[in-house]
């Protein structure tokens, strides 16, 4: 199976990757490509980093549970939920270290450059003082580059050059595989990392399969502001975001050569976050979702003669966004998110359905619902629910769905659209019917897979028309 190596650079890269994981879990199609996420963020203590790593691990476990049928027998990928294989680079190659290993040093940038070893009248010392401020040199690298691409460029370059993980990428990138880079343009890590990594890949003459891999990238333009740094004491000033973006764009215009370069952004800095570079507890945002959708678009496209610049619009400038204001291009996303939210509802209901027919016919009994596999799935889907809630509550909000819970009317679940299913019993019935169909093909005995497939088939009966 062909792979797409998805490099996620910096905090925004991680957050976009979270959207990729969530959308992939909901059934977004990758055109047959397996996803290999590669997280590049020097800020290893960042909670978002830990959460994303855990979420990827949870996804992989769920996928494995859905595709194993005992005695080393492997099943095809399920249709619908969790239909794409995600593999960590470290699982492809057991020898390499974590992508962030080289960056975890608790050094300041000045220590990293060994500025102290330079004599005061050394010309290199003058050069460094010209390019970098004192704050730049004092910054600890373990919390990232604090929006300074001039710092990021130096550190990341060395980080990529000597890293085991990059060697592993070179070894495992095969003919037909693709590369996708996710970064922001207004910060430090992403803005510096994207052109650097792209150059490294495009100039890799020793590995033609790497050099010739179809490459896509999404660069996220400013979409949030941060509290005033004079009151928060942070080293990041969001009023510089646009200036930095303009500077980076003028550089990208001449230097980047990705086959497809997607731009995702907002008209203004609508969302405002706490200015705390150590925590960066930012809520999921619509722009990250748009950036994530670029990956699926890229995977459906063929090589062009010249680099293509792409972007994505919405139909109406509304806040929050609904299915009509989003426009037809977002229907697939809305449909998949609806499916997953309905799945979440069913996962709440099913353990209490003591007389559900699949209990007898497919073994979806008390033991199954108490099993760790089901627990892990439920936990993941709860994370998905939380992610959607964050999207809906952020500015600008992505809120095509009404809140629904057990026993509530489901016809108006999607704002501005009517679903035929009045309540959850409609979906439960379709699950049973899905189980009754294609019986022979489903005789693998994997109860977890039965749940995933029948729930998806049942739900899509009512949401396919979206």
């Amino acid at each position: 199976m062909a792979k797409v190596f998805v490099f996620c650079i910096g905090g925004t890269g991680l957050r976009v990757m979270k959207s990729v994981i969530m959308l992939t879990a909901s059934g977004m199609k990758t055109n047959g490509y397996d996803i290999v996420p590669i997280l590049l963020d020097p800020h290893v203590d960042l909670e978002e980093n830990t959460i994303l790593t855990t979420t990827i691990g949870d996804y992989i476990k769920i996928y494995k549970n859905a595709t194993s049928a005992g005695r080393a027998q492997q099943l095809d990928a399920p249709a619908g939920f969790f239909s794409t294989k995600i593999t960590r680079l470290e699982d492809l190659d057991a020898l390499q270290n974590s992508t962030s290993t080289n960056m975890t040093e608790k050094k300041s940038f000045g220590q990293y450059l060994d500025v102290g070893a330079l004599a005061n009248d050394d010309v290199n010392n003058y050069l460094i003082q010209t390019i970098y401020s004192r704050d730049n040199l004092k910054n600890s690298l373990s919390v990232g580059f604090k929006g300074n691409p001039n710092v990021g460029t130096v550190v990341l370059n060395e980080m990529i050059s000597g890293a085991d993980w990059y060697d592993a990428f070179q070894r495992h990138c095969e003919k037909g595989d693709r590369v996708f880079i996710i970064s922001s343009i207004f910060g430090g890590t992403g803005a510096a990392g994207y052109p650097l990594l792209e150059k490294k890949i495009k100039e890799d003459k020793i590995h033609p399969q790497v050099q010739n891999a179809l490459m896509g990238a999404v660069t996220v333009l400013p979409y949030y502001s941060l509290d005033d740094p004079t009151t928060s004491g942070s080293g990041i000033d969001s009023s510089n975001f646009y200036t930095k973006t303009k500077a980076a764009l003028s550089y990208y215009e001449k230097s980047v050569k990705s086959d497809y370069l997607y731009y995702a952004g907002e008209q203004s800095l609508k969302a405002n976050y706490q200015n705390n570079e150590k925590e960066q507890k930012n809520q999921a945002h619509f722009v990250e979702l748009v950036a994530a959708s670029a990956l699926y678009d890229f995977l459906g496209r063929e090589r062009q003669e010249s680099p293509q610049a792409m972007t994505r619009a919405i139909r109406e400038d509304a806040d929050p966004l609904h299915i009509t204001s989003l426009g037809d291009g977002y229907k697939e996303i809305v449909k998949n998110i609806t499916n997953m939210m309905l799945f979440d509802l069913l996962l709440d209901i099913l353990p209490g359905e003591r007389q559900f027919p699949l209990k007898k016919t497919r073994g979806l009994n008390k033991d199954f619902y108490q099993d760790q596999k089901f627990g892990a799935l439920k936990e993941f889907v709860k994370k998905f629910h939380k992610w959607y809630t964050e999207l809906a509550e952020n500015n600008r909000g992505f809120a095509p769905l009404n809140r629904v819970s057990k026993g509530e009317k489901l016809t108006t679940m999607i704002k501005g659209l009517t679903l035929k299913a009045k309540n959850e019993s409609y979906y439960l019935l379709k699950m049973i019917e899905a189980s009754n169909k294609k019986k022979v093909q489903h005789e693998h005995g994997n109860r977890f897979r039965y749940l995933l497939e029948f729930a998806y088939n049942g739900i899509k009966e009512y949401t396919d028309h979206i």
């Binding site: 359905e353 559900f356 027919p357 007898k360 309540n423 409609y426 049973i432 019917e433 009754n436």
Partner: protein
Amino acid sequence: MELMDLYKWGLPNQGEYLNKYRDNESLYNMARSLWNSLDSESFYFMITFIAIGLVLVCFYYYVYNKWPGRKYRIQHWALWLGITGVVTIIAILCLGSALVTSNLQEKFGFILRISLISGIYAILIYFVASLIICNIPVPTNAYRFLKIGK
């Protein structure tokens, strides 16, 4: 075994019943005629309760369970069990009244008893048919709570 044997356990003894009219020949003949009539029509009663039991059990498993609303729950099965009994009683009451001609007062009582007994038989048929359906590999959306084993 005569068909009337199906209902004997819920009806008075034939001999004792006819003996009540031994002093009045006309009434005795009417009573005997009523009994014979019930006996001869009991075939239709039997066909009716079997048909109702089977039709409603099939309706429950293969039609009613195609409707949303958690129809697979046992309470719905029980509801149709009850409906089977009631429909059978009403159907046999109507059928008995139409087929059995007698001016004796006991006619309605006998037909009512036969209807109630038929209702019980229809319920038994519904139950036995459910047991079979739950254990054969024919798809149904209902919960196979009568399935034996795993």
